[in-house]
């Protein structure tokens, strides 16, 4: 890592390109160790899934009346985490927040991988996952045409659109960096990065087209991201089921998704900062700014929970109150209050005070939020399914080992994919960082010679 002496006044070291390409060009033993550990965790999940496919879905704790539990919780949770990246990155791009530059790619990667992991769970959840293609909306030989009135079909369209858009949103600004790596490498790396760079040269026309495309993508991806989690909430709120059939679910889910997404981003950035020695690029101010966003989302989340709970309590409808009390003081109360502490009390206690909005403080709050948001998804699904309208149909749910292993393996998969990505692609956008370092030429300290060349000075 470069020392402070090599830093120019603008705050980024002169060795920026070398620093950010080092993880791609040099591999340490700790990388292999990390991949081995994370790969083993993923293999645990693969083993659990193989056992489930071989034995049948009865190996899970699912039973009447609770047919959705860990798997659908994981689905909603990971789709929520995916809101970290593309949405936040797009908003920061559109408002031209200067501090976004080292953050955007770290965030966009989370979206791509979280969506892949989340979208896998409806397939894992199928009794016969090898027939997953029956989920796709196409007319079949059996004359079963897609029913576009089903929220599950909406999921397919929304997630496919968001995944496609997010992957492109991630790839496009990476092209100039691929070109940089192409020029800095030889052998197989030169060939592979040459293909990925698509023959990019960096002409003024190419830069304009790329920036226009990124602007359009940012404008398009924000409503798509909002629609995705709204539509995931429709999976629940379109059903006449206690505490699901609520108009607040759309914005409540979107807010929760952004909330958990920011938390995941903070954790990922802290890990990158530590393991790739990116302290000179991911500054405490980035964590402080994201910490403020997390604090704001925590307050928003608290507002939504309060509004939802108060409305239910005030209505005093018997079926809803069964679910309500099951979470407030019944069997699910320990999980519920843990969720409140993780999502509201902990972030507020830490992030309200500037002196605690440090890297460590933000990471602690974020870890709490990730746990709390997973619990929130679980508490939306299971208490309701186990307390439906008629008490004879009440039941309970307890997860079994394969489900728990699958849950753990999703975190391993996220870590593994993120580690591999940061090994092969610059995890911080080098060219965007360079643009951020360009001097503000409209400031008084500019030289007259430079000022004379400014197009804005020409009539």
């Amino acid at each position: 890592m470069s020392g402070p002496s090599s830093q120019p006044a603008t705050g980024v070291p002169a060795t920026m390109t070398e620093d950010l390409l080092r993880p791609l060009l040099k591999t340490s033993w700790s990388f292999y160790l990390l991949v081995a550990v994370l790969g083993s965790i993923v293999l645990l999940g693969v083993g659990a899934f193989a056992y489930q496919v071989n034995t049948g879905i009865g190996v899970w704790g699912l039973n009447w009346p609770v047919f959705w539990a860990f798997d659908i919780t994981n689905f909603v949770f990971w789709i929520g985490i995916s809101h970290a990246g593309t949405l936040i990155s797009a908003i920061l791009r559109l408002v031209n927040a200067g501090w976004r530059r080292p953050v955007t790619r770290c965030a966009e990667v989370i979206t791509a991988f979280a969506l892949m992991i989340g979208a896998m769970f409806p397939i894992v959840h199928l009794g016969r996952p090898w027939l997953f293609f029956w989920l796709m909306p196409y007319p079949t030989e059996r004359q079963i045409w897609p029913n576009f009135r089903s929220p599950l079909v909406w999921d397919f369209f929304a997630i496919s659109t968001y995944l496609t858009g997010s992957l492109l949103f991630l790839y496009l600004p990476t092209i100039p960096d691929f070109a940089l790596v192409r020029d800095k490498t030889t052998g197989w790396r030169h060939k592979v990065y040459g293909v990925l760079a698509l023959g990019w040269r960096g002409t003024t026309k190419q830069w304009h087209r790329l920036e226009s495309a990124m602007q359009i993508m940012a404008i398009a991806i924000i409503p798509v991201a909002v629609s995705v989690h709204t539509i995931v909430s429709f999976d629940f709120s379109m059903a006449i089921v206690p505490m699901w059939h609520s108009t607040i679910f759309g914005p409540y889910f979107v807010a929760g998704a952004i909330f958990s997404g920011i938390a995941a981003l903070i954790i990922a950035m802290a890990a990158l900062r530590k393991f790739l020695h990116l302290e000179a690029y991911l500054h405490p101010v980035h964590f402080e700014n994201l910490g403020k966003l997390l604090l704001m989302m925590s307050l928003l989340w608290g507002y939504f929970v309060f509004a939802e709970r108060l409305t239910t309590w005030y209505g005093n409808e018997s079926a809803e109150m069964s679910v309500f009390w099951a979470t407030q003081r019944g069997a699910f109360a320990p999980l519920y209050w843990t969720m409140v502490v993780c999502n509201f009390v902990l972030p507020l206690s830490i992030l309200s005070f500037r002196k605690f909005r440090t890297v460590l403080g933000c990471v602690i709050a974020s870890c709490g939020v990730v746990v709390g948001m997973w619990l929130e998804r679980f508490l939306i699904i299971v208490p309701t399914l186990s307390h439906k309208y008629l008490s004879y149909s009440w039941g309970s749910y307890r997860p079994r080992t394969p489900e728990i292993l699958l849950l753990i393996s999703t975190f391993g998969a996220m870590g593994l994919l993120y580690t591999l990505f940061s090994k092969f692609v610059p995890i911080i956008s080098i060219w965007e960082l360079k643009v951020g370092e360009q001097p503000e030429l409209t400031q008084p300290h500019e030289t007259p010679d430079v000022a004379a060349t400014l197009w804005r000075t020409h009539p």
């Binding site: 045409w145 659109t161 030429l441």
Partner: protein, 173 residues
């Protein structure tokens, strides 16, 4: 077909701008001057000439096409295989709006990417004007040497900007 070109390499965008200005004064058309850099320099005149709203317009058209196709898909499917759900309308606009919205946005996004690739001439395997030192932060300003163009005047103009190096090479035109 290979065409010889002369180009200068510059440390600073201001120097590249001076070279561009000198080239124009020497009678070179603006569209014939190639500027290549490892980052965009929005504040300089040489960076402004290729501004266009083309991509925005194409994205709008793409979105419109996606919208029409989505409407045809959902209404056509519903009418081809009508499913009566509790007397609800066969063509149910409220739920169909979700599909129509997603396909509209998907079409706009895909159109944007395809338009970018076509207008930026990507992917390209041509041996276009380029120098590896661009990746080190140098800015390339070059001109193809077409018949009758005075090489000395071009070299002088490139040198006037304060070029670190002036080179000649063959590139595809």
């Amino acid at each position: 077909m290979a065409t010889p070109a002369i180009y200068g390499l510059y440390d600073e965008p201001a120097a590249a701008q001076r070279a561009c200005t000198a080239l124009k004064r020497a009678g070179v058309e603006e569209r014939e001057i190639t500027v290549i850099s490892s980052e965009p320099f929005e504040a300089f005149e040489f960076s402004q000439r290729d501004h266009s709203l083309l991509l925005f317009r194409l994205a709008g058209i793409g979105g419109l096409v996606g919208f029409v196709l989505a409407v045809l898909l959902v209404t056509g499917t519903a009418r081809a295989w009508p499913i009566d759900v509790g007397g609800m309308p066969i063509v149910a606009w409220w739920p169909y709006l979700v599909i129509i919205f997603e396909l509209t946005m998907l079409s706009a996004i895909l159109t944007t990417v395809v338009s970018l690739l076509i207008t930026a001439r990507l992917p390209s395997r041509r041996k276009d004007m380029y120098d590896l030192v661009v990746s080190d932060g140098k800015i390339l300003v070059g001109v193809p040497m077409t018949a009758g163009r005075p090489a000395d005047a071009i070299r002088q103009a490139l040198g006037a900007g304060g070029a670190v190096t002036i080179k000649t090479a063959d590139f595809q035109n």
